[in-house]
């Protein structure tokens, strides 16, 4: 049972006019897409090591939700976090350097792709334990509420996390304590190799969220405008003290779970069906149809993005590794003498 809310005029429509804003959404999604595609090459060239989980196909979710957040709103994501990091303004250079394990990386080369952190942008990034970030988000929302700070803590997690006990504990705690928390469940239908219906008795996640007495909506995660719209309404309610909200963002990843995954558990037809609703191509088509985008615009975007990526790689290549003597630094804080 999903409670549909009528669409009221949203007082805080994005400034700068409709067209410019929609082009900006497209550019942001394209920027994430090209960054991830370049990561695939870098990984096969062994420049990027370890685990790498790509966001290709789900760009609309990160870009759409982040439109509703202020720079001061804390964001907690998961190991599939490049899209969220870029959408929240973490510099491409520090992201690339981190995956090159360089000391100029946002986590000094210690976290890698799965552990991106940037306190300047209140991006409490990556957590490689499924559902591990949810309690942190609860705590941050609690802290802001206790200090009467009007913020929204956005917590991104996948459908896999819904199976973790921690998820249920956090949903209940957030609802019980009426915390300013926006749960963003990126339901891409697969927890690594396990399809949702093979993991959950009830697959309507938005309905399940309602059972905690929490406002929850399903959202088409492939339509960036729909995502933005839902995120803005939810964030506004949360910021206004309306308690936690839950968005079930129905989306799909076009590539395997990670670089190691032969992706045998999904049939090609399903992947094609979802590819036909690629958030970038859909928005491009609409913009062209509405005469708000020219091929030239696209060329400019592609050139700028390619240059930004190339620059990020050069900087990462040239950067230094963290000196060995720092190995034990930051295990504990320096003693205040």
């Amino acid at each position: 049972m999903t409670r549909q809310k009528q669409h009221e005029a949203d007082p805080r429509e994005p400034a700068g006019g409709e067209a410019t804003h929609r082009r900006e959404l497209l550019r942001e999604m394209l920027r994430i897409r090209r960054f991830e595609e370049r990561c695939v090459e870098l990984y096969s060239a062994t420049k990027i090591r370890g685990f790498l989980h790509l966001y290709i196909g789900e760009e609309a979710v990160a870009v759409g939700v982040c439109q509703a957040l202020t720079p001061a709103d804390p964001v907690v994501a998961t190991y599939r976090e490049h899209g969220h990091a870029l959408a929240r303004g973490v510099s491409m250079e520090s992201l690339m350097a981190e995956m090159f394990a360089k000391v100029t990386g946002c986590s000094r080369g210690r976290g890698g792709s799965m552990h991106i952190f940037d306190t300047q942008r209140r991006f409490y990034g990556g957590n490689a334990i499924v559902g591990g970030g949810l309690p942190l988000a609860v705590g941050m929302a609690l802290a802001d509420k206790m200090r009467a700070i009007e913020s929204v803590t956005a917590c991104f997690f996948g459908d896999g996390a819904v199976a973790e006990g921690e998820f249920h504990e956090c949903m209940n705690l957030a609802a019980l304590w009426d915390l300013p928390l926006l749960f963003c469940c990126e339901n891409n239908l697969y927890a690594m190799g396990t399809a949702l219906e093979r993991a959950q008795a009830e697959t309507d996640l938005a309905a399940r969220a309602g059972s905690y007495g929490m406002v929850s909506w399903p959202v088409d995660g492939m339509d960036v405008t729909a995502v933005e719209h839902a995120a803005r309404r939810a964030a506004e309610a949360v910021r206004g003290g309306g308690g936690p909200h839950f968005l079930e963002l129905r989306t799909y990843r076009f590539r395997a779970h990670s670089m190691y995954d032969p992706d045998r558990y999904r049939d090609k037809a399903e992947i094609e069906r979802w590819r036909s609703r690629d958030p970038i191509s859909m928005l491009t088509a609409q913009l062209k149809q509405d005469g708000q985008l020219t091929d030239h615009d696209l060329e400019v975007f592609e050139k700028e993005i390619a240059a930004e990526i190339a620059q990020a790689i050069d900087v990462a290549e040239a950067a230094d590794f963290e000196p060995l003597e720092d190995l034990t630094k930051f295990v504990y804080s320096p003693r205040q003498t």
Binding site: I129, A143, G165, S333
Partner: protein, 350 residues
């Protein structure tokens, strides 16, 4: 004197106030539990970022009555009863600390902390290092530990040795009234997570505590009883038993020195080794199971750094490697006791 802001507190809690006030008055007898409560009150009063979360700490007054009366005095915003969701509320404590608060999370017993081990290890202990120094976690977690009250295997674990294995955490074990009164404030000033293990058997111990007792250091071990024939190393709930053992040994003319570790991570090697270098014989009493226990680590450090001072092998008295039984006579046999500690000392002195 605190203006009691009891809001609908029952008579029981009001009376509890009087008892606890003695801590601020003259040096009347005080219990370990009351010393802890005084420390919590002091922290809540002196730093508004401090708040306490845990199961039944508010209205119920705490499973071991440590937080009795705090809800009435500080209100539900800062004394927060939580649902039985250890992973969530411990993780929430970490999140709130990341956001600048100074939470004190009470996990009812170490036995239930296993449900929050992932948050404690993969988040609390790791975030500062993994984030390249960006994310400090100034969190204090208190939990009751240890056996000896016939609550059987699932409620009688002593796992502080596990936690002392984890870099990024500081682990302390207050065994005396001064430490119960003084460690919490020092722990709260630490920018890194501090876990405080309170042995269940200590809550009812009492004695005099000087009125101006305040914060104590959490970096060094302490010599509770000087001696020169054998060094008895222990911590937490086993300290009273070890002191009793030292009395028995004194009757046999063996002068035993009792070292209270106080901090289990980092270990205060200097104090331990200085004592061993004086007595040349060591017994370590540890309520953990022998294999891979904290006593194994202490023993390894002694043989590594004071080998040429050892006149006998290091003796260890640990809990029998069995799930703690309910029957009193079995539980007593399983746990380290003054007699077994004294025997080990006699064996070392030879």
């Amino acid at each position: 004197m605190n203006a009691s802001t009891a809001t609908g507190g029952t008579r029981k809690t009001v009376r509890a106030h009087q008892a606890q006030d003695s801590v601020d008055g003259s040096a009347k007898p005080v219990s370990y539990r009351e010393a802890l409560r005084a420390a919590l009150r002091e922290a809540l009063i002196k730093d508004e970022r401090v708040f306490i979360m845990g199961e039944d700490i508010g209205r119920y007054g705490g499973c071991y009555a440590v937080t009795l009366g705090l809800l009435e005095e500080f209100g539900p915003e800062r004394i927060r009863d939580t649902p039985l969701s250890e992973s969530a509320f411990v993780g929430a404590g970490i999140g709130a600390a990341l956001a600048g608060m100074r939470p004190i999370v009470e996990i009812m017993t170490v036995n239930f902390s296993l449900l929050a081990l992932d948050q404690i290890l993969n988040n609390a202990a790791t975030l500062l290092h993994m984030s390249g120094g960006q994310l400090n976690v100034p969190l204090v977690i208190r939990m009751t530990t240890g056996a000896g009250r016939q609550v059987a295997a699932q409620h009688s674990h002593s796992l502080e040795g596990w936690y002392a294995h984890i870099p990024g955490l500081r682990i302390v074990a207050p065994a005396t009234l001064e430490d119960a009164r003084g460690m919490i404030w020092t722990a709260l000033q630490d920018p890194d997570p501090v876990l405080i293990f309170e042995h269940g058997g200590l809550y009812n111990t009492s004695g005099t505590l000087s009125p101006d007792a305040g914060p104590v250091d959490i970096d060094t071990a302490a010599i509770r009883r000087p001696g020169n024939d054998v060094t008895l190393i222990t911590y937490g709930g086993t300290l009273p038993k070890t002191l009793a053992a030292a009395d028995q040994l004194a009757a046999d003319g063996i002068s035993a020195e009792v070292v209270d570790l106080r901090t289990l991570r980092p270990l205060d090697d200097a104090t331990i080794l200085a004592s061993v270098r004086r007595t040349h014989r060591v017994v370590i009493a540890d309520e953990g199971w022998r294999s891979g226990s904290l006593s194994a680590e202490v023993s390894a450090r002694i043989t590594e750094q004071a080998f040429y001072d050892l006149d006998a092998p290091v003796e260890r008295v640990c809990t029998a490697e069995v799930p703690i039984p309910y029957a009193w006579h079995l539980e007593e046999a399983a746990l380290p006791q003054p007699a077994t500690i004294a025997d080990a000392a006699r064996k070392a002195v030879g």
